[in-house]
């Protein structure tokens, strides 16, 4: 049993699409915020997978995808913090 780059990219596509579906479908904007981490996670998965499978083992190319995945995760958390703060200002319980 093995998993190739195509499987990684399929999973990344699924995560991005589910995130876009949540952001578009839910009427409550605070729930729609939950789509942002999913889309960012899908993008990070694609970056990590491509750098692991397709980059040359020497020269630090493998770490570039991991680096982008780390930065995307932090950016997703920042976006959700700001969104929850703004929704808490304007929204209702």
């Amino acid at each position: 049993m093995t998993a190739g780059l195509v499987a990684v990219l399929f999973v990344a596509a699924g995560l991005v699409s589910v995130g876009a579906f949540i952001a578009a479908w839910r009427r409550d904007l605070t729930i729609a915020l939950a789509g942002i981490p999913l889309m960012f996670a899908g993008a990070g998965t694609a970056f990590a997978g491509v750098s692991r499978f397709a980059a040359a083992p020497a020269g630090g190319g493998q770490l570039l995808g991991q680096e982008v995945a780390v930065l995307l995760a932090v950016a997703a958390l920042a976006a959700v913090v700001l969104g929850v703060g703004l929704a808490g200002r304007e929204g209702r319980r």
Partner: protein, 162 residues
Amino acid sequence: MDSLHAIGFYVSAAVSLAGGLSVAFLPDRLRRGIALGAVAIGVAGIYLSLSAGFAALVALACYGGCAVLLAGPSYRIFESVTATVWRQLGAIASAVLLIALAYAAYFGAFHHANYFGGDFGSAALGRRLFAHDALATEAVAALVLVALVGSTIAWRSRDRSR
């Protein structure tokens, strides 16, 4: 990729995709938060099976933090005024996006890519983050600072108006 890594990858992918679909359809915020936590665990498992251990730890912390925020007591309902037809069009567009991305992944000639395994790599990754690509790290740090300050100002103005 050996069998153990492949099994871990497929299980983690199933957990993350099922968690994402649960976030889309579950009714109450606590269950949605648990589902988003499952997404965090699944994504961390995917990174771990791709030999990206440090990225897995950061993803678990950040996406788990998102789950805690969206399931916590600070949650407020904020209804949009978007018409139903636009939301339905958005859902159809996300399905089209899935088809397009899957088409690109399958017909993109990625079948012959080789797998290069690696170790945990936190020291080398830290050197890239704070020395080689320090500007990108600084930009994300500025984004986090703006988000925290903006969120604090929003909450303080809400408390002052009550």
